[in-house]
């Protein structure tokens, strides 16, 4: 039935998680309520993100060969577990399509103003379908390589911004009591769920991990690194743009980079940001798409993964531009989605699963 089990090494998992976390979160303004303390809010959300990841990792260690839909059925029993797992499908597909929409819209408003969104989004989704048809192992190895490209581009951008003298530390400090409160408020639950809670997708990837002893260490390292990178990037954006502009712009990283002008020579580094956007969106999309495909595979007992890749991709593509008429509507939907549905699937259900599992094991309720 299985040809050969695809495996992912620690470095690859590390790269995948970092790219997934940075994904779109590095580009769009997150945790707006926290004002100029956004960088702090990200760091405050970090411990929560680690705890969430430990929940996922622990569940994986209990059921090393099953993805989330598998152990949901084991823990809750098939009659309750199957429908609950099924609910993950639309959530994953919709959230994936949101990433696609965001990437497409940002590309259009930043550069491709005359290109229809259908074209941009389908090009991206074709790349996703292609790499998924090659399998998760190929995808993970790609991540390992691309991570370096992203890091190098990020370094170039940050060095350019800093050496162009744009950074104003004044915009980040001082922090007053009310700022701490707001940072805490936007960290939990908003930043905890987006981007950390989204790691829920990795419950479908972890079974491919080949060194289960290292699972917690690798994951935590990746989350800490990505949180620091996110916090740093947003701090730079905030310090350059100031709170007022940061909160108004749709694409703070792009606005930041357009301000770079070093000695009238190094300027207009927009292309680097666009590349970061495309790469980040690509990895996020692919992970979402893979998660949806894996769950559908498991639930409907389809043996060949690649057969579901195209339908999943097409659904994502269409829901990406059918779901909202304009970007504002899309953002409003996103806010509601982030506050109501996503926490249930990213945090509540996994934590409940773990608790029920622990209770059942303790009292010997597994047959």
């Amino acid at each position: 039935m299985f040809m050969k089990k695809e495996v992912i090494g620690p470095n690859q998992l590390l790269a995948l998680i970092i790219l997934f976390e940075l994904g779109t979160a590095v580009l769009v303004p997150i945790g707006l309520e926290s004002g100029h303390a956004v960088w702090l809010a990200i760091l405050i959300a970090l411990p929560g993100g680690i705890v969430l990841y430990l929940v996922f990792a622990h569940l994986y260690l209990q059921f090393p060969n099953q993805i989330i839909s598998g152990y949901t059925r084991s823990i809750l029993g098939p009659w309750l577990g199957w429908p609950v797992s099924l609910l993950f499908l639309p959530v994953l597909l919709y959230n994936g399509s949101r990433n696609l929409r965001e990437a497409g819209d940002l590309l259009i408003s930043a550069s491709y103003d005359k290109t229809p969104i259908l074209i941009i989004n389908s090009i991206m989704i074709i790349a996703v379908m292609y790499i998924l048809s090659k399998g998760i192992e190929v995808f993970a190895r790609t991540a390992e390589i691309v991570l370096w490209i992203v890091i190098i581009m990020g370094c170039i951008c940050i060095i350019a911004v800093i050496s162009a003298g744009l950074v104003e530390y004044k915009n980040l400090f001082p922090l007053h009591m009310s700022d701490y409160k707001q940072a805490l408020k936007s960290a939990y639950p908003n930043i905890l769920i987006f981007p950390f809670g989204e790691l829920m997708c990795f419950t479908t990837i972890l079974p491919h991990f080949n060194k289960s002893r290292k699972i917690k260490k690798t994951g935590i390292a990746a989350i800490i690194v990505s949180a620091c990178l996110l916090s740093f990037t947003h701090a730079i954006e905030m310090s350059v743009l100031g709170e007022n502009l940061y909160s108004r712009t749709a694409f703070p990283m792009f606005t930041t980079i357009t301000l770079v002008n070093m000695a009238n020579f190094i300027q207009r580094l927009d292309a680097l940001v666009m590349l970061t956007l495309i790469i980040g969106a690509f990895f996020k999309l692919t992970v979402y798409c893979y998660a949806a495909v894996a769950i559908a595979n498991d639930l409907f007992k389809v043996n060949d993964t690649s057969r579901l890749v195209v339908p999943a991709g097409v659904i994502m593509l269409f829901s990406s531009f059918v779901s909202a008429q304009n970007y504002s509507e899309h953002m409003n939907d996103g806010k509601t989605f982030l506050q109501t549905i996503l926490p249930v699937f990213c945090a509540v259900i996994p934590i409940l699963l773990l608790l029920i599992h622990l209770v059942r094991r303790k009292f010997g309720l597994y047959r």
Binding site: S109, I119, I123, S133, N244, L245, R248, F254, L259
Partner: protein, 401 residues
């Protein structure tokens, strides 16, 4: 999916992918690069007249050979209720689509500046082509269009020439500072008011449009940087000149380098001190409901010229000069501050700083910040140091002459 199907998918993808790139294609020979934009108000309407300075590619060779005939830029204007409307309406005059990613300069005409500039900068944030870091100038005593039309010597692109002029004088003379659209938006959205570099036309603006203006060794019509325009609530209310303008830059911690002529014992304003370092720190406290601005300026300079006898080899004389330097700086700063208070216009960023460092006291202040600022006190501390006296110590001028 089998191998064949996959191959088909790949083939389709490979064929389709490059096509997407052509959708937005704009070739260089179909673009008109805009180097500067001038914004004016059409008299007695609320329409904008927007003037574009377009680079004329055939005559902008790197060598500034005068023989090429045509000027390096072409200027077109269009009128509309909105900025974007005007720039698209300009298509009636231009053979190519305007391209804004290389716009270096924005000039505001005086009538527009007096009418109010608060609502014209949205397009710079919203558009992906226009840049927030374009320099901005306000035309003193003329409209923006005549500034845009003026040809400049040395630099072949007038817009670029103006930008360089502004930057040049900012870095060595200190009455101006580089101000971009980004800074202006910050000024508008922040507390308090703002200043914008002013530029003036010397001579006959009509003559300046012609290339003949550049043919003599002396350009009869030229643009000169002319201090700062003070904007209160987005409306131009005052022109700051000379020491007032420099005092403002001092309070804003924007002095990079400047020259002060200070008094010697036997001759007024005869020692030229080149300020090479200056740092201004501002702390605001509230006392009895009124702000007190504690400003500390630390400046370092070197004596670059003395036209009367000063014994620069003696420490006491140097200290005397340092005191003179402090006095002179204090006079300029006070002059600027009093002008700001008289105008009830906080152009020194004091309000923003107070709000940032002490939001509670800021919230407790009631009423209009401009008026509160006008009643505030300035507690000015200046520390001046003379670090060097150039290549010589004692001047050749004999003592007491």
């Amino acid at each position: 999916m089998n191998g064949k199907g996959l191959l088909r998918l790949i083939a389709i993808a490979v064929l389709v992918l490059p096509l997407g790139g052509c959708w937005n294609s704009r070739e260089l020979n179909e673009l008109a690069v805009v180097s500067g934009i001038g914004m004016d108000l059409v008299p007695e309407t609320d329409e904008y007249r927007v003037t574009f300075q377009l680079v004329n590619p055939s005559s902008t060779s790197t060598s500034t050979s005068p023989g090429s005939g045509k000027p390096a830029v072409v200027v077109v204007s269009a009128t509309d209720k909105t900025m974007f409307g005007a720039l698209r309406r300009a298509s009636k005059h231009v053979t190519r689509q305007l391209f804004f990613a290389h716009t270096q300069l924005i000039v505001l005409g005086e009538p527009l500046a007096r009418d109010g500039i608060n609502d014209i900068f949205d397009i710079f944030e919203r558009s992906h082509e226009l840049r927030l870091n374009s320099e901005i100038l306000v035309a003193r005593g003329s409209d923006a269009a005549s500034v845009m039309k003026l040809l400049t010597p040395v630099e072949s692109l007038p817009a670029l020439g103006l930008v360089k002029k502004a930057q040049n004088t900012s870095s060595v003379w200190g009455e101006n500072r580089p101000i971009s659209v980004f800074d202006v938006i910050h000024g508008i959205t922040g507390e308090g008011d703002l200043t914008i570099n002013a530029v003036k036309i010397n001579g006959d603006a009509e003559e300046g449009k012609k290339k003949s203006n550049l043919e003599g060794s002396e350009t009869l019509t030229e643009t000169v940087m002319s201090g700062l325009g003070v904007f209160r609530q987005g409306k131009l209310i005052y022109w700051m000149k000379d020491s007032e303008a420099r005092g403002t830059e001092w309070l804003l911690n924007q002095i990079e380098e400047t020259v002060l002529d200070i008094d010697a014992d036997d001759k007024k304003e005869s020692v030229a001190v080149n300020i090479i370092y200056s740092r201004t720190e501002v702390k605001t406290t509230i006392e009895n409901g009124l702000p007190v601005f504690h400003v500390t300026i630390a400046e370092e300079g070197s004596v670059n010229e003395t036209d009367s006898f000063v014994d620069l080899s003696k420490r006491e004389d140097i200290m005397k000069l340092e005191q003179e330097l402090e006095k002179k700086t204090r006079a300029e700063v006070m002059q600027a501050f009093h002008k700001g208070q008289q105008l009830e216009s906080d152009i020194f960023n004091f309000g923003n700083e107070l709000k940032r460092t002490n939001p509670q006291e800021w919230a407790a202040l009631d009423g209009d910040w401009g008026r509160i600022f006008a009643e505030g006190k300035l507690d000015l501390k200046i520390k001046a140091y003379i670090r060097s006296t150039g290549m010589s110590l004692k001047p050749y001028i004999p003592e007491g002459k």
